[in-house]
Amino acid sequence: MASPHEAIKENSMILQKEMLGNLFKELANTKFSEKKVVYTFVPGNLTELILSFDMLPVYPEINALQSGMRKKSVEYIREAEKIGFSEDVCTYVKCDIGMMLKGNIGPTGESIPPPDLLLLSYTGCFTFMKWFENLEQLYPGVPIAMLHTPYQEDGFISQEQVNYMKKQLIEDVIPKMEMVSGKKFDINRLAEMMHKSAIAEDLLVNILETAKHKPSPIDAYFAGVYYIGPIFTAFRGTQEAVDYYKTLYEEVNERLRLGLGPITPEGELKKEKFRLVVEGPPNWTNFREFWKIFYDMGAVIVASSYTKVGGVYDLGFRHDPSQPLESLGKYCMGCYTNMNLPQRVDLLSKYVKEYSADGFLINSIKSCNSFSAGQLMIMREIEQKCGVPVGFIESDLVDPRYFSYANIKNRLESYFQMLDQRKMIIEQELVNHV
């Protein structure tokens, strides 16, 4: 790992790790700093608004996935099942509830403070509502703000929907935040942060779009989940996020300039063999093993829907400082899982075409309704529209009991062999036609 570009790469990783570490430290320190804590979710999050009140956000699903990666989730899930959560309930929920029952020690080993406000800003996932109902019981008396987010049923966001969101922000969310934080809402400060959000968002889009090149300098799924970390969580709207994305973009650009492939946990991928578009969240408990199956076969994920859960920025949306509340409303309604199924098919087909993908693969997670409902239809549509081989595997978010390595490997091997054969046949056909 001594070559200079890999060292540079590590810089952005180190930077990100530091940012997250500091956040957890800051959270652990709230009893002294007296900063207020808001529990909220990644899709449709109102990070700038929370930060503009000098409050700190906590994202339970991020804690769950971090616990999954650190092999702690199994114990938390068991704890939640002990008090009656069924085997079929979303494992993020069980991991989070279990963690709270075990003393709310966060993934970095520092304790996470209880919430001062439960902010549900995205209702597209029904489980989120039930999750917060449970949190309400765990933390009785904590104020709750709920933003009812209309689904993009007609395939677009209407002005009425934007007005409805803005109304809820003004009448419910902002007053509750003022009450909890003891601070007055400052729209100028919010707008200033949104200006920074937009800069970071531009950079993220540029970074993700480098995968259109052959070979792709990035893996837009496995590495992509690291890239989206800061912007989808507590840092959007901060200078730190802008700096992080600048550093990352420089690194990726350098790789692009040198014609290098993505960095995997075992070093640079030397030969890009397959380019894939992936739909669905990854598995976190066996993340490295899962990734390894792909990079061992030379498969690079060039685009994924999961890296759009916190915003489909490549379709053009940016936080807009000139219309802060409207754009927050649009943002909440614009996240990937709030798009209707034809929109998702269009987006994914666009990815297959624009990123010159060889195949389309779904990692389906049964307990995640937001993603898995409609996946088979999506798969068939993509197959017909784009004519690429499609694959389907099943795993889970953070429950290691549902990650069957042998089965997943068997299916993926078959899938890669399918792609391989197709490539051979297409090449032969091309030769025959020349």
């Binding site: 798969m379 694959g391 389907f392 089965n407 068997n410 091997e413 399918m418 054969q421």
Partner: protein, 473 residues
């Protein structure tokens, strides 16, 4: 020199091998039960395929004679069967050695050892001639064809005739001996065995062995015996020629669940999904949808005009509804696996089996029996339940287009075929062509062999070459 290509499909229940020639024609098939030692299973399947190929070449060399003459046809059938008995006999001796070894190490006092040894001897004395007779007169029929099953059935039969106190020690000796015996790689000399088989047949055709049925006796009058004996003498040189034929396997492909454990180079390993699809498509070129029900998984596969897979769906998390499910049900009902389908065909009434969990299905079966439902009707329901599960996978994979081909060991079950046909017609229309080949269980191995023929670029390392192409000569 002829070029041959080998495909080995190491499934969870059975291991299959297919040898094809330059024209993609199947010239040899071999099958055995998969055991703990995967490479042994693959070797045995491959050896069987090579022996089978020699017999095919023999038939081919004899040309029209085997097609037209009953005499030739029967003789070749007899020869293959008695040849199999010769292999069986050697394996039985190996098993005998293991049983003696286990008996001596398991029982500490010499008196018990002696007692058990006497029982073992008498068991062997009783069943060996019975089995020999079955091979000689082709009476093994549709029963299980694997060594383990044939011997286990007879051994159990004999043990059950003895005092009940002997059951446990004798079964313990059996359990401890069968696997080591089965996992030995026995290399047979084809020529030697085929000559021994000819000698056995000469005795059979001399009429000195009593037949079990009147039909057999009638078909063997004196003049027939003379004809057969003359045939043996006239064919010795042709048989020798085939026995000495050098068998050159140009390339091979390993597939199936155990493929990663095969002593094949990496580039010769291919997914069974692709192989089943390719095999099915090769036999029925208009196939666009393939259903494969194997021992532990069900695959619904869509293929294109080249036989290449475009998408597939497999059972996940649960293997209920696969071949092993039927095996479990057969055990629960104390009948053989091969009897299940024909019995289910006699079903007169729709009995719904709600659960397709293998273990729960056992409970449901007992409950329904309790309620007075007939065995045949319950079995009908169970078979239908399997197909309903498969239908859901087919739908998930995209449905049925053009021709539909059913592969895998379960395709041999007539009741499964009945329900599948019924449901395919109901769901996808009567004009769908449904193909089920008599070699359906070999489709994966066939696809593998066909890939091997098309993929000559991959080099086979020398050390592995030997393992792969030695055919026992």
């Amino acid at each position: 020199m002829n070029n041959y290509y080998l495909g080995v499909d190491l499934g969870s229940t059975t291991s299959k091998a297919v040898i094809i020639n330059d024209q993609d024609q199947v010239i040899g098939r071999g099958i055995t039960n998969t055991r703990a030692n995967y490479s042994i299973a693959a070797e045995i399947a491959k050896d069987e395929a090579v022996y089978n190929a020699r017999f095919s070449i023999l038939k081919n060399n004899l040309g029209d004679k085997t097609l037209d003459s009953e005499l030739y046809k029967n003789f070749i059938k007899d020869l293959e069967s008695v040849f199999q008995y010769q292999q069986f006999k050697i394996r039985l001796d190996r098993l005998g050695d293991e049983l003696v070894k286990t008996c001596n190490s398991y029982f500490k006092d010499t008196q018990t050892q002696e007692l058990m040894m006497n029982h073992l001897r008498s068991i062997r004395r009783t069943f060996k001639p019975v089995i020999k007779h079955e091979y000689l007169f082709n009476n093994l029929g549709s029963k299980n064809q694997f060594f383990r099953d044939i011997v286990a059935e007879k051994y159990n039969e004999e043990v059950s005739k003895l005092e009940s106190s002997l059951f446990e020690p004798l079964m313990t000796i059996w359990d401890k001996s069968i696997s080591p015996a089965e996992n030995q790689l026995v290399k047979f000399d084809f020529k030697e065995l085929v000559h021994r088989a000819l000698d056995e047949l000469k005795i059979k055709y001399s009429g000195s062995i009593k037949t079990t049925t009147e039909d057999d006796a009638q078909s063997f009058d004196e003049s027939t015996f003379v004809q057969y004996n003359q045939l043996i003498e006239s064919l010795r040189s042709v048989i020798d020629e085939v026995s000495e034929l050098e068998f050159h396997i140009n390339n091979m492909t390993g597939t199936g669940y155990g493929r990663a454990l095969l002593p094949f180079p990496e580039e010769c390993i291919r997914s069974e999904i692709l192989c089943h699809a390719f095999g099915a498509h090769a036999v029925f070129p208009d196939t666009r949808t393939v259903l494969d029900i194997g021992g532990q998984d069900t695959k619904a596969i869509q293929v294109d005009k080249f036989g290449l897979v475009t998408s597939f769906q497999m059972n996940d998390r649960c293997a209920a509804g696969c071949g092993r499910y039927l095996g479990y049900i057969a055990d629960e009902m104390s009948i053989s696996l091969n009897e299940l389908g024909p019995m289910a065909l006699q079903s007169q009434k729709d009995v719904t089996i709600c659960s397709t969990c293998t273990v729960f299905a056992g409970a449901e079966l007992r409950e329904l029996t309790n309620l007075g439902e007939k065995k045949e009707d319950i079995l009908g329901g169970l078979h239908k339940a399997i197909i309903l599960r498969a239908m859901s996978l087919i739908a998930r994979s995209g449905g049925v287009f053009n021709e539909f081909t059913f592969t895998g060991g379960v395709a041999r079950n007539p009741a499964i075929v009945k329900y599948l046909t019924q449901l395919i017609y109901e769901n996808y229309g009567k004009d769908i062509i449904i193909n089920i080949h008599s070699d359906s269980i070999f489709m994966g191995a066939l696809g593998g062999a066909m890939f091997a023929r098309r993929n000559l670029i991959s080099k086979i390392p020398d050390n592995k070459m030997e393992v792969a192409i030695s055919d026992g000569n």
